[in-house]
């Protein structure tokens, strides 16, 4: 009900200012192209310094390794990947404001779209760049193209981010054609020679003919439909880089949708901040009204509620079942060492923004900007918790490792943050700040609608209008080391000694003893293959030449697999019968599993140790013809075989997306040339 009332109100507001905006949109877009103020230069200088410090920190990290950023084997992923998720996340705000509002026909978006799309492009580029400090060996990043592993989520991250970046750039660039044509045609003198050249090239052939408008509208409609699933795919695949591991809290099916909503939530907040900043900096109050902030605030509130719900849904099932890892993780998060940060996020990043939108007396520009200022860093904090918590959990011991920020990642994160306004300010020195054509087009539509509505209203009643909200303006504003040396040397000496003892003492000491003592019994061994099984027969005779019954004869075989010196492997033993014969069939019963594993000659040994005497042995070499490998590979995972099909399908989809996006540029170009 409230929304409806607000919508009509906003339409009225837009309609009232319709005539004024058409000229002010052009003037406002030309504003940043003039001689920059001292404040502009100071801001650029300050932001550049922060960015340069970040680059310096990255050089320090390149030289010293990632250890200087506080990383260790206990915290293998931390701040940088959280930064990547945050920055690529906030770029979804541009998509929601431009694409979703375009598709739903929300005309109030018009003055915001260029800023929102610009933010989307800039933040996705910064987010993609943040992968570089995250990677241990960034110089090898080209391998993602030259030797990709198609089963790796990180590779598909790369594909999704690249595709989404391309989509965002197309979505940003296409509406520039009519805008640049308007400015090139009517305001050449205000552009300066370089912009004139650029604008002439981009808008060449655009005259605003109906055919051209139809093609451009069609192209933009298609791209705005595409940009939504593209953004969903980016945030989902980012989530799957975590969720496809077996770590507690990462391995959750809710992570992908949660990432998408988190991206929308933080993205809308950043759009509010960017709009507030540019509105104040370039005095766009005539075009961007408090209404716009309140509406974005409503979107923010919806997303805040959704995100709180998803967070609860994420944590409940794991806490309820509480298998060891998940229980440890959630205990740490909800009542343990991370609890203060989690509840800070929940209150400041979830409830407070919701409250600021819900309460009527904070539902204004200030309120919305404060809500946005709370949301963006709190969503970063939530990502830090989501990354660092499970990454520091040792799945072997169940103990949490520590991660401490150092100045290096802090400087790099601040640099990335400063890069957003810096790049936006530079970007809008080149391209118009507002989508002039869209604003003017919607104004024309509004005028027609407005005339009709006014006429209808006059016919019904002359009831008073509810007072509009006041148009107050706002500014956007570290281990103990072991004693290795001596112990190491001692251990090495001991080790070498043991090795010497070990090698001087072959297993079972099965060296044939022949001759010497005549009082020793004699043993002979034969082996034959029968029915595919190896049968070993040992005959034991007493020193007097008589068969020796009821004696245990041990059988062995020799192997040189572990060293040139043969090792003897016990096969089991058998008792001699009255004839002094002991038989052993390899693989013949459940107690004797061994069967020859390779064809060719194999040595078998029989040994008998009379009580209190030296062992006697005999050996024979049998040529094995029926060998079998003892090894059975593990069964393939049930769904492993669909991998290839999936890859082909995904590549086809990605190729189709790139082709379609490219075609839209080509379509608009062609219709301009005809």
């Amino acid at each position: 009900m409230t929304t409806q009332a607000l919508t009509t109100q906003a339409m009225k507001t837009l309609a009232v200012t319709a005539e004024a905006t058409s000229t002010s949109a052009r003037a406002a877009s030309l504003g940043p192209f003039g001689k920059p103020s001292r404040l502009w230069w100071l801001t650029i200088l300050a932001l550049s310094l922060v960015v340069l410090t970040g680059i310096g920190a990255w050089v320090v990290q390149l030289r010293g390794g990632m250890g200087v950023a506080g990383y260790s084997d206990q915290a293998f992923w931390a701040i940088y990947i959280a930064d990547v998720v945050t920055f690529i996340g906030v770029s979804y705000g541009g998509a929601v404001v431009s694409a979703i509002l375009r598709l739903t026909g929300a005309t109030w978006r018009a003055p915001l779209t260029r800023l929102a799309e610009g933010t989307a492009v800039v933040t996705v580029l910064i987010g993609a760049a943040l992968i570089i400090p995250h990677i241990g060996n960034p110089i090898r990043l080209y391998e993602l193209v030259t030797r990709p592993n198609l089963s790796a989520p990180v590779f598909w991250d790369f594909v999704a981010v690249m595709t989404y970046t391309f989509g965002s750039i197309v979505f940003f660039a296409l509406p520039l054609v009519p805008d640049m044509a308007i400015l090139h045609k009517g305001h050449k003198e205000a552009l300066g020679s370089r912009r004139v050249t650029l604008y002439a090239r981009v808008s060449r052939g655009w005259v605003g003919a109906p055919a051209q408008r139809r093609v451009l509208a069609g192209a933009l409609g298609l791209v705005s439909i595409m940009i939504i699933p593209l953004a969903v795919s980016v945030h989902s695949v980012l989530a799957w880089a975590f969720a496809t591991t077996s770590r507690p809290w990462w391995h959750e099916s809710i992570w992908a949708p949660q990432f998408v909503v988190a991206a929308l939530y933080s993205g809308v907040a950043l759009v509010i901040l960017v709009i507030a900043g540019f509105r104040r900096g370039y005095h766009l109050e005539a075009l961007i009204h408090p209404r716009h902030f309140v509406r974005l605030g409503f979107i923010l509130a919806t997303l805040s509620a959704t995100y709180i719900y998803l967070t609860f849904a994420d944590l409940l099932p794991g806490s309820y079942v509480a298998d060891r890892g998940t229980a440890a993780m959630f205990t740490e998060l909800l009542v343990g060492r991370l609890a203060i940060w989690f509840w800070l996020f929940a209150v400041v990043g979830g409830l407070l923004p919701l409250l600021l939108v819900a309460l009527p007396w904070t539902r204004n520009v200030w309120g919305m900007v404060i809500a946005a200022i709370l949301v963006v860093p709190m969503m970063w904090l939530k990502r830090i918790l989501m990354v660092v918590g499970p990454a520091t959990y040792d799945t072997m011991t169940g103990i949490f490792g520590r991660y401490h920020f150092t100045w290096v990642p802090v400087a790099i994160t601040l640099a990335a943050t400063a890069a957003i306004p810096l790049l936006l300010m530079l970007l809008f020195r080149v391209v118009p700040l507002l989508s002039i054509d869209e604003i003017e087009e919607i104004e024309q539509m509004q005028e027609v609608n407005d005339l009709e509505r006014n006429a209808a209203r006059r016919r019904q009643t002359g009831s008073g209008e509810s007072g509009a909200d006041d148009d107050r303006l706002v500014g956007a504003k570290g281990k103990a080391h072991r004693v290795a040396g001596a112990t190491g040397v001692l251990a090495l000496v001991a080790l070498m000694g043991l090795l010497a003892v070990g090698s001087a003492h072959p297993a079972q000491a099965a060296t044939p003893h022949s001759g010497g003592t005549t009082s020793a019994p004699a043993v002979t061994i034969t082996g034959i293959e029968a029915g595919g099984l190896m049968q070993l027969t040992a005959t034991l005779t007493s020193p007097h030449g008589k068969p020796l019954p009821n004696a245990q004869v041990a059988f062995l075989f020799s192997t040189t697999e572990f060293g040139a010196q043969a090792r003897f492997v016990p096969l089991g033993s058998a008792t001699t019968d009255k004839a002094g014969i002991a038989r052993l069939t390899l693989g013949g019963d459940a107690d004797h599993l061994y069967q020859p594993t390779a064809k060719g000659p194999q040595q078998f040994v029989a040994t008998y140790t009379a009580p209190g005497a030296q062992p006697v042995t005999a050996s024979t070499t049998v040529t094995v013809t029926a060998a079998r490998s003892a090894y059975t590979p593990a069964p393939a995972k049930p769904l492993a075989s669909i991998g290839n099909v999936l890859v082909i399908a995904l590549f086809s989809i990605v190729a189709a997306i790139w082709l379609t996006l490219g075609t839209q540029i080509w379509r608009v170009r062609r219709v301009c040339q005809s």
């Binding site: 390794g65 090898r140 016990p570 061994y594 393939a636």
Partner: protein, 290 residues
């Protein structure tokens, strides 16, 4: 025992793999003639991936191989594994030190690490953990550049000359068996040699892990930890030839040894099919440590 990082199909591949690659190539030609150049580019990568998968014995390739095995085709000559007899482990960590000495590792880089464990009755025992050499190695699937490879003898190895340092493998490993070179490695103590997946040399910004001393195995030598263990806890084994041997020289028929001692694998429920078997002796609680 050859490294399988080449883009080309290794010469020793089973014929069915070559057939598979051929299938993809012919499909690619079909599409190319249809004029879908972009899709063809993607398919080249698909067929490359097939080669890489085949070379590393992916489950799909393994399934076809096993189908052939049933008909008497060639099988890998070795399938390396390890047996760890916890009954005798006293937690002296000589295995860890032998390994670090041999591979030039820092103190905290414990490619084989001895964990102090508590059993259900409150008793303590020691549990050495090398790389589990999983047959379905989660680390291998998540490496964005395929720097983690699996030899056809079942050794999961890292090509440190290809590793980008994404640490996705560290996230994926359920056994925490991977260690990163966060800073410059220790200065080499012996004559430097070129790194191979079988005998990696620590390199800043790349990951490292236990390799079962893959360079020693073809020579019939024992891995450093196995040779070093004074208690004979660690056995290196071969599932194909059905033999396992420990440092002091005890040699056993692997299958019988595992069966007679009720050997178990750690975190069996994850389906990684680890190739390290533990022999429990005192009712130690190994399962369920997620």
């Amino acid at each position: 025992m050859k490294p399988t990082t080449d883009l080309e199909v290794p010469a020793g591949l089973p014929p069915e793999v070559a057939q598979e690659v051929g299938k993809f190539l012919s499909r690619r030609n079909l599409l190319a003639t249809a004029g879908v150049a972009a899709a063809a580019g993607a398919l080249t990568m698909v067929s490359y991936r097939d080669e890489a998968q085949a070379a590393t014995m992916s489950p799909a390739a393994k399934a076809t191989t096993m189908a052939k095995v049933a008909k008497g085709a060639k099988v890998p000559a070795h399938a390396w594994c390890m047996v760890i007899d916890l009954r005798h482990c006293d937690g002296c960590e000589v295995c860890t030190q032998s390994c670090q000495q041999r591979h030039g590792l820092r103190d905290e880089q414990t490619w084989i690490k001895v964990f102090g464990m508590t059993d259900a009755a409150g008793g303590t025992f020691h549990m050495p953990r090398p790389c589990m050499m999983c047959e379905d190695a989660p680390c291998m699937y998540v490496c964005p550049v395929g720097a983690t490879i699996r030899t056809n003898e079942g050794l999961v190895l890292v090509d440190v000359d290809a590793c980008v340092g994404s640490r996705a493998c560290m996230a994926a490993c359920p056994y925490e068996a991977r260690y990163f070179n966060w800073t410059d490695p220790l200065p080499p103590k012996r004559m430097p040699m070129p790194a191979t997946p079988q005998m990696p040399v620590p390199q800043k910004g790349t990951v490292g892990k236990c390799v079962f001393c893959a360079d020693r195995l073809p020579q019939g030598e024992l891995p450093a930890c196995v040779a070093g263990c004074p208690m004979g806890v660690l056995y290196i084994g071969d599932l194909v030839t059905d033999i396992a041997v420990n440092g002091p020289g005890n040699t056993v028929v692997l299958s019988e040894f595992l069966r007679d001692n009720d050997a178990v694998r750690y975190k069996e429920e994850l389906g990684t099919n680890p190739r390290v078997y533990y022999i429990l002796g005192h009712g130690q609680n190994l399962g369920g440590v997620a």
